[in-house]
Amino acid sequence: MNEFDKLFRNYHRRLFLYTLKFIDNESDALDIVQNVFIAIWENGKYLQNEGLVQAYLFNAVKNSCFNYLKHQKIVRKYEQDSILLNEMELIYYQSGEKSLIETESLKQITDAINSLPLIYSEVVSLSRIDGLKNHEIAEKLNISIRTVETRIYRALSALKEKISQKSFFILLNMSGVRK
């Protein structure tokens, strides 16, 4: 009904998730997303066509993250290395590369995880749904951390495989068109 509310509901979750790619602090990430919405509300850009708006939102988030990381580099000197890694990733996306978060339906990806063999989907969901770190998963499943890591890697490789097989892509894109 209201254009702005609709936009907020459609994009908030994605933008939040996207912000978390580069920033591990949830409350800072939420602030960044809020501020991006405030900006688009104030400048009225949300009334433009959806493609432009989407690009605007993701770019605004990227730029905010960039500034945030720049600041973090000064504040958190001792974690320089991981910040630099995040920054490298961010620059990659600023160059125009798109994340699955931006291009794909999130539900399809969760569905794809569930289609993995149990030993893989299990570790993924323990981390992604229950929020456990690798050593906690190892304890819970009574396996070594190395095994957890290996399974996570294999799970991701398998998903990557599925995605590059295109069938996954086509499936996702079709649901994107219907929307």
């Binding site: 509300w41 290395d81 890694l85 490298m88 290996t150 991701l156």
Partner: protein
Amino acid sequence: MKDKEYIENLIARSLNGNCTSEEILKLRAWIDESLDNRNEYLALKDIWDTTRVQKDCSEEQLSLFYQKQIEKITRSRTRWIKYSSAIAAILVAGLFISTLIFPKSEIRSAGFQIYTVPLGSRSSVVLADGTEVCLNSGSELKYSSDFSANDRVVYLSGEGFFHVKSDQKHPFIVKAPDFEVKVTGTQFNVCTYSDNKFSSAALAEGHIQLKMNGMKDFFEVNPGEKFKLDRVTQKYIIEAADIESELAWKDGEFIFKKIPFPDLVQRLERWYDVKLNYSGKDLQNFSFTGRFKNQETIWQVLDALKLISPIDYKKTTFREFTIIYKPLKME
């Protein structure tokens, strides 16, 4: 091969574990080795990031968003004023120009001279006795062809600011639909739009005498005071007034302090010659404070209001808007 396995574990650790900074440096070195490595890492991390199941908090965040917008009004009215004057500084257009293009029209009829000012415009007249009258949007000033320095009577509907040429012997009389004002030399504002609930007269300088229709006695209004009449009940009060905002319109400014939403709508409609529709009682409880230089377009004014209050608007037809109440969601 052992090396590859090490990197695989390192990637998984960096995604969901605790990497030492030494390990991060190793990972980084591997990533920098080739574009393939980099793309591999970024693709895996992207999938990983995408699979994160986050409680959807968009509704809470949307409420928070509106809450913040509301806070902006209460937190600082001055900032709001700054904001609107900032717009004004950028824009030069609007009313001033329309005044030039559509000057007041002057009609002589049945021994009367009539000045009318269209909606969305302002104008001023100098009368034969040297009195200056500024007329606000949608006003009409009428006086007999016999008007002279000796017989100073005018009829006003709408809003006018009078700077009356001083003459103790010949009082200047403004006849409004509900009352008349008698002065000798002074500056005052009379607001008597027929569609307003209240009529008023506010005094900037000197003193005025005022008489309600059908009454015999005049009473006095002092500088800084305002006579306010409820046209329906015919009850009136004389109260201290903010003369600056009462008179701001004649300098092309639009100042309102704590006025209820319906009044604001009415003033905007007249000011911009638009129709603003709204429904529901919710909006009526809001009061507004602000200052416009009157060079903003109606769009900009509505955008500014939208920013500080829980409303949204839509253009419906030519010169017509619908204002929608958009409440905070308390969930």
